[in-house]
């Protein structure tokens, strides 16, 4: 059993890691940047590493993380280019690759950067990582302790800025690799996306692991969507069995803006992602989707808090888990409707498919509503594959394993099909329908 002590020790260890890095790595940074880091670590120290006693962490235990001592890379480590090959998109858009949070020029390609899009790297320019306030805006109802840790310790934070009315056609691709060969390594990937008024861009963000030793990635993505702007964001976490990922996607939206963010989680010992959305302008529209296909003892926890602060906003949250082995899928979603957010239209669903005797699902879809003229619904289901549907397919001559595969693909497809970047969608289909054991028993049928 983990005791409260272990969590305290873990928090102390991260604070010590910061103290040491502040001397060694951050010393040359300007005072205002250091002030931001200091404030962030102070806030983290106050909040600590969350334990299961924290209502937000009721079903996800960070005990294995708390028991591990991590080191942080000083300089970019060399990674075989083959590691990113499977992740590549076929388009001509720009690509940024980070290894353990450090920008790796040799793997990146900024050639396709369209006009109107700028990328600022905190270490490569004078633009240091002063948070644009997105995170603060998104955490006033409930803090995110580890996101504060990210702010304190992030190195090559990237900011992608899409200028007013710029229509960026090709997806901008950001790859974060968590790499460890011997000892456990922690990294703090950080990405900020700023879409100015009327801008439109598609961002693909992949988090993957390299090497055999344990990794912990504490990631933070901040997205500020300006008036009438549109951001389409697709994120994946594809981890090996001894890696932990604790990420947050914080989004603020201005008037009439649109944001889409999808997350697909594959593998990993623990993957936790918090979506925080603050709808701050009338008529904003937000669409979040998530899919986890898990096996063995993998654990995925999706937490959402969508805050409707202004009238006439729409939000849709659709999350699905396919759970095999002794895996565990957790969902906790909250739509919060402020008193001023009249005419809110919110829909949230979570569906879980249990494929094995030892898989577990926990789901908490929540509504918190302070305005009267709203229409909000949520739904949750937990169940196994429909026997009648399997029988129906078998009666049409489809072998059982394939029938199961077809049904699982149909279930997951409702999330995958919505991913607009075709190369990513196809790759995930390929990967997922090769990963789930229930599907392995038969060659995948043609789509």
């Amino acid at each position: 059993m983990t005791t409260a002590n272990e969590f305290n020790t873990a928090a102390d260890r991260f604070v010590a890691l910061y103290r040491e890095a502040r001397e060694r790595i951050f010393a040359s940074e300007p005072a205002d940047v250091l002030a931001v880091r200091d404030a962030a670590i102070a806030r983290f120290a106050e909040l600590g590493v969350p334990s299961h006693k924290d209502e937000e962490w009721k079903y996800t235990s960070l005990a294995p993380v708390a028991r591990t001592a991590f080191t942080m890379d000083d300089t970019p480590r060399a990674v075989d280019p083959a590691a990113i090959e499977p992740l590549l998109l076929d388009g001509a858009g720009p690509r940024l690759v980070f290894v353990n949070g450090l920008y790796t020029e040799s793997l990146s390609d900024l050639a396709g950067l369209p006009a109107g899009v700028t990328i600022e790297l905190a270490s490569a320019s004078d633009n240091h990582i002063i948070p644009p306030g997105v995170l603060d805006r998104c955490t006033d109802l409930a803090p995110l302790p580890l996101a504060r840790l990210n702010i304190a310790l992030a190195r090559d934070a990237a900011t992608i800025r899409i200028a007013r009315n710029t229509q960026c056609v090709e997806p901008i691709h950001v790859i974060h690799l968590a790499a460890a060969d011997a000892g456990a390594v922690v990294s703090f990937p950080r990405l900020s996306i700023v879409a100015e008024e009327g801008a439109h861009a598609t961002i693909v963000e992949n988090h993957a692991t390299v090497g055999a030793a344990p990794t912990l990635a504490v990631a933070l993505t901040e997205i500020a969507v300006g008036a009438n702007a549109h951001i389409d964001h697709a994120r994946t976490t594809e981890s090996n069995a001894n890696s932990w990922h604790v990420g947050a996607v914080a989004i603020t939206q201005s008037r009439d803006s649109r944001a889409e963010s999808a997350h697909v989680a594959i593998g990993g010992d623990i993957t936790r992602l918090d979506f925080r959305v603050s709808l701050d302008g009338a008529g904003a529209d937000c669409n979040l989707r998530g899919l986890a296909m898990l096996d063995n003892s993998e654990h995925v926890d999706h937490h959402l808090l969508v805050r409707h602060n202004q009238p006439n906003c729409t939000s849709r949250e659709f999350f699905k888990n396919v759970l095999d082995g002794s895996s565990r899928g957790v969902f906790c979603g909250r739509i919060h409707v402020d008193q001023d957010a009249q005419k809110t239209d919110g829909v949230q669903t979570n569906a879980n498919l249990l494929l094995s005797d030892d898989a577990q699902a926990e789901t908490r879809p929540q509504l918190e509503i302070y305005a009267d003229d709203v229409k909000c619904t949520h739904g949750a289901t937990v169940g196994q594959l429909d026997d009648d549907a399997i029988f129906y397919l078998r009666a049409r001559g489809v072998p059982e394993a394939e029938a199961r595969a077809i049904l699982i693909r149909g279930f997951a497809g409702e999330i995958l099909d919505e991913i607009r970047v075709e190369a990513l969608r196809d790759r995930l289909r390929q990967r997922l329908f090769g990963v789930v054991p229930a599907l392995n028993q038969q060659p995948a049928a043609s789509v």
């Binding site: 008193q339 577990q360 879809p365 009267d372 709203v374 739904g379 196994q384």
Partner: protein
């Protein structure tokens, strides 16, 4: 909002529900706010081992009962008040509360004729005549006044059927074996802060035992009345339905209007053995406090049923319109294979009322089924939270749960919140949860108005329709009562 021009007729009724029909719905009167002037025996305020001993002695309890109380009291000292409910109230000073108050009376009552006429009058005024001649046919009543049971009707008729229906104090003396076996078997003395407090100081309550194979010949009912000032009410109810038995039990509650908050921390335990059915219905109308949030009852109640036997069934139906704060989660622990748990609830918060209520369905046995229907109505500055847990344990093959959780908002200063928890550890489970939150439909209002129905009546009609699935689970007399209660709350809602 727009309206036709030249809208000058003062009698013209607004068509829209948004503002007027709802705005002033806080103005209705609480009908049961009177105080009965009666002498009472009371303990001094405060809580200590001595008070626990005092209560036990007053009730001439056997030593084992006192020991149980003391064990609870000592455990309670180590506990802290729960902070997780979505309700806010100033800290309670547990040393200011009077833990025992009873109308002064003769030690033993031979018949109802010996009950203090003032008490009989009180219950008459509440619409609960204790005179068997005047009573609703087919309903036996146990009347609990402050801390003690003052009368139980139809005892003879029930005795003939073998049914035991008496006050808890009497049960401790007369049926110690049953009480010892089942008391605390569903809600242990260490369960939670308020239940543990209750275990230490519970003063009275009802006890029901339905023997094997007996279908209880009439509805059983307890009517709770808080009268004395600064008094907490801590009643404890225990209902056991033996193999193949069935019973329907009703509970009603009111309290005088007082400016201080009063604590009501009750515990209800139900045990259903093989093929037994217990249906427990509550119409809770404790004084809710005034429109500024002054006064009202803190209703912190633990209710739990154990569907212990195969094919047993426990059904909770509640209509909650009163109390300043409600904190209760009538639950079902489905232990027996093929057992069934049900929860039907209407919770209304108006004025400054806060409710954090819902249920827990714990599926342990195989083929267990549960249904949750919750209807929350928020008005005024009321805050209404549904909180519910559906838990499917690993061995609970083929468990089924269906949850429907709807909220209706009337007015723009109230809140409606839904916090379900679903935990599934068995793949054969099938869980469906649906929730909606909306205000009264503008199109529905217009449709009713167009048929000549005034806004106020339309609101009442639509709200009652919204609650229909719950009302139809109530026994007839209570269903009518419940609808009336909602209508009273709707009085004066058209501006």
């Amino acid at each position: 909002m727009t309206q036709a021009p030249a809208q000058s007729n003062p009698d013209a009724r607004p068509i829209d529900a948004a503002g007027d029909p709802i705005e002033s719905w806080a103005s209705s009167e609480y009908k049961y706010g009177f105080v009965t002037d009666i002498e009472s025996d009371a303990a001094p305020p405060g809580l200590s081992e001595d008070i626990v001993r005092f209560i036990s002695e007053k009730k001439s309890e056997p030593a084992w009962m006192l020991e149980w109380r003391l064990k609870a009291y000592r455990h309670w000292l180590t506990m802290t008040e729960p902070q997780w409910p979505k309700v806010a109230y100033p800290p309670i000073n547990y040393q200011d509360i009077i833990y025992y108050s009873a109308p002064r009376r003769k030690p033993e009552l031979a018949s109802l004729d010996e009950v203090d006429p003032k008490l009989l009058e009180t219950y008459e005024k509440l619409g609960i005549p204790l005179d068997e001649q005047k009573m609703l046919a087919g309903v036996a009543v146990d009347a609990v006044f402050d801390s003690v049971s003052v009368a139980t009707t139809f005892k003879e008729t029930l005795r003939e059927a073998g049914v035991i229906f008496c006050s808890m104090s009497e049960a401790v003396r007369e049926h110690p074996d049953l009480v010892r076996k089942y008391l605390g078997s569903v809600v242990p003395y260490s369960d939670n802060f308020f239940a543990t407090l209750n275990s230490a100081v519970f003063s009275d309550g009802s006890f029901v035992y339905i023997p094997k194979g007996v279908k209880c010949p009439m509805e059983l009912s307890t009517y709770f009345r808080i009268n004395a000032m600064n008094t907490g009410q801590f009643e404890r109810t225990l209902i056991i339905a033996d193999d193949g038995a069935s019973v329907s039990y009703l509970e009603g509650c009111t309290a005088p209007m007082r400016d201080e908050n009063q604590l009501h921390a009750a515990v209800v335990e139900l045990v259903a053995l093989d093929d037994a059915t217990i249906k427990y219905s509550t119409v809770q109308n404790w004084y809710p406090g005034d429109e500024h949030g002054v006064g009202g009852i803190y209703n912190f109640v633990t209710k739990r049923g154990k569907a212990a036997g195969r094919r047993s069934r426990i059904s909770w139906t509640q209509v909650e319109t009163g109390s300043a704060i409600t904190w209760k989660y009538p639950s079902c622990v489905l232990v027996g294979d093929d057992s069934v748990g049900e929860f039907y609830s209407v919770a209304l918060t108006n004025r400054m009322q806060q409710a954090d209520t819902g249920t827990k369905m714990i599926h342990i046995g195989k083929n267990t089924r549960s249904t949750i229907i919750s209807k929350g109505i928020s008005a005024g500055r009321g805050q209404n939270t549904y909180r519910g847990l559906v838990k499917i344990n690993k061995a609970a093959d083929n468990a089924r749960n269906f949850t429907q959780c709807d909220s209706m908002l009337l007015g723009d200063r109230c809140g409606a919140h839904t916090f379900p928890y679903i935990e599934v550890k068995n793949k054969t489970a099938r869980i469906e949860h649906e929730a909606t939150t909306s205000r009264i439909g503008e199109d529905q209002m217009f449709y009713c108005n167009q048929r000549g129905i005034r806004a106020e009546d339309a609101v009442s009609m639509i709200v009652n329709g919204f609650c229909k699935e719950v009302f139809r689970e109530l026994p007839m007399e209570f269903a009518v009562e419940a609808q009336k209660l909602l209508d009273v709350s709707l009085e004066g809602s058209v501006g």
